[in-house]
Symmetry: C2
Subunit: 333 residues, 2 copies
């Protein structure tokens, strides 16, 4: 039996783009298992975009990857030794077992994979695992595409984007993929069945996006950000939905103040624009409730009343500079 493990550790934090210097390959002895522990021989390691921002020392939804410890990451592997009643040698398991050949883990950290001969093991880290489930949730729970709608997916050849597009098409949506370069665009169309794929490296990309979305964009599955998102936003349809999944364009940049959308993702914020005249169904309830509150003295208000029609323009100009308090009115004497 092997007594030696090899693992990658984070040696230093990047400034701007990550480089090989930031990683260190280490050899270490395997220590005997304690009760409840399982030894796993990792077969596949998943490499995901989230790993890059975690190399930075910055507040996020999880703690940063610690320096000098094994790089965090999901693997599928095979149990080679067990001191747990729940796992036996030969079981296939999934876990956050890190960038290493062998993992020594508590049995509570492992998920058993139900083996299916028609579902390759490696896809448990891809289209049937976390990336596929990410696509499934963002599309079905946030974007909720209806038949005939136009859905845009950046990084359409990637692990997440390729699933988003196929699921959207199965729901009857028109799918517009975005990818980098002719080779990826061909795969997105021919293999993943997107209706269109645009190359974001094309200098005419913004115009190409307009032409590819004659009925505007109803849903955007956003995992890139940057100039691609800047082109998508003004093209959104009324009542469009954007699922913020990732911002790979920002991960490898020099540290800068977080942009607004990155903040929205990190905090899982819902942002919704609304125009009150589009919701006539709530007007009777709302206006009655508000009038009752005024009548009972429970809703206070202020009015800034400008006297005379001739002064109406000044009233509007004043509103722009904050001259008013409360509701700005013009009294038409």
């Amino acid at each position: 039996m092997t007594t030696e493990n090899r693992q990658w550790q984070l040696a230093s934090r990047p400034h701007g783009a990550a480089s090989l210097d930031n990683f260190r390959l280490v050899t270490a002895p395997l220590v005997p298992l304690q009760s409840g522990q399982v030894r796993v021989r990792n077969r596949y390691l998943s490499i995901d975009p989230y790993m890059r921002p975690r190399m930075d020392d910055r507040r996020s939804y999880v703690d940063p990857q610690p320096l000098g410890e094994v790089m965090q990451g999901e693997t599928v592997g095979e149990v080679v030794e067990s001191r747990s009643p729940h796992f036996k040698t030969g079981d296939h398991v999934l876990g956050m077992l890190g960038w290493q050949l062998y993992a020594t883990a508590a049995d509570t950290e492992l998920t058993r994979i139900q083996h299916r001969s028609d579902v390759p093991l490696s896809t448990r880290l891809g289209c049937t695992g976390m990336p596929g489930i990410t696509a499934w949730y963002g599309l079905k729970h946030i974007i909720q595409p209806r038949a005939g709608e136009t859905i845009v997916v950046a990084a359409a050849s990637g692990a997440v984007g390729s699933v988003v597009g196929q699921l959207a098409r199965q729901l009857g949506a028109r799918t517009v993929g975005i990818a980098g370069g002719a080779r990826k665009c061909a795969i997105v169309k021919d293999e993943f069945g997107f209706d269109v794929c645009l190359d974001h490296r094309d200098p005419h990309f913004p115009q190409a996006l307009l032409q590819a979305t004659p009925d505007f964009i109803d849903g955007d599955f956003e995992n890139v950000g940057g100039p691609v998102l800047d082109a998508i936003l003004p093209r959104m349809n009324a009542h469009g939905r954007i699922a913020l999944c990732g911002f790979i364009s920002a991960y490898d940049a020099k540290p800068t103040p977080l942009n607004n959308f990155v903040c929205a993702l990190l905090n899982r914020v819902k942002i919704q624009g609304f125009i009150i005249t589009e919701h006539p169904e709530i007007w009777p309830e709302a206006s009655t409730e508000l009038a009752d509150l005024v009548a009972s003295g429970k809703l206070h208000y202020r009015e800034s009343v400008t006297d005379g029609l001739e002064n109406a323009p000044q009233a509007l100009l004043g509103l722009m500079t904050g001259a008013n308090v409360g509701k700005q009115l013009v009294k038409l004497a």
Copy 2:
């Protein structure tokens, strides 16, 4: 009976800040009513922030205010003459009747006001009318505050913001108002009952916001935008909600490309950040469905497989530059 009307028309479109030159006061004769028409003597004209962007010639959710026509705006008034069976002289009505003393309108354009002696007529344009209903909808339907949550409201002394804060407090939320200057801040606290009010003109405003939100921000009713929103966003709590209602900070600026949040408002877009590991309840359903799709050949996937643990860092660096197609894996031979 008066035979003359006075009205403000849009004379020219602003470049940057609007000025009095953009408006023209016109006198015109009142023409006889046609069947179904009603003459209204406007008593109060509402002056609202939306009027400023409508002076520009730009695609939006409504057409721009036409040049040389009466400025659009909501009024409350009194019927002075009627050729409609639905309205009689003396009725109080509400309508988009414009910046003018008299309006000649089809009866279908008017809403009768149920007179209540305990609800002042002018509030039908303010806290019990469109601005109040805007506050009610954005707060109750989008932000949905829970007791104990922290809700931030910019332009807190305004027609909309003052209602948002009071309704939020009645729902048990902690309310942090933002306003311009000490006088408005005092009104926001003393009269509208916000827990705190911050002056956005204070050079230490960003730090003051941190101190005023020790438990972060759960909801933001956004009607200002600009640097105030930039300070709010990084302070949002996990699963926070932002109702995009308006961007008064952008309305009077020189024409520039629309910023991302203005686009989101104009198109009534819902933007939602999500982290897939926070939704464990959907994993079994999603992974089974995806595995079935793979097994039946209905879900295509690509893998970029890097061979050997020693090459894992290159695999991550390649992912940052788009070297992969589909899921990036490392095979641990």
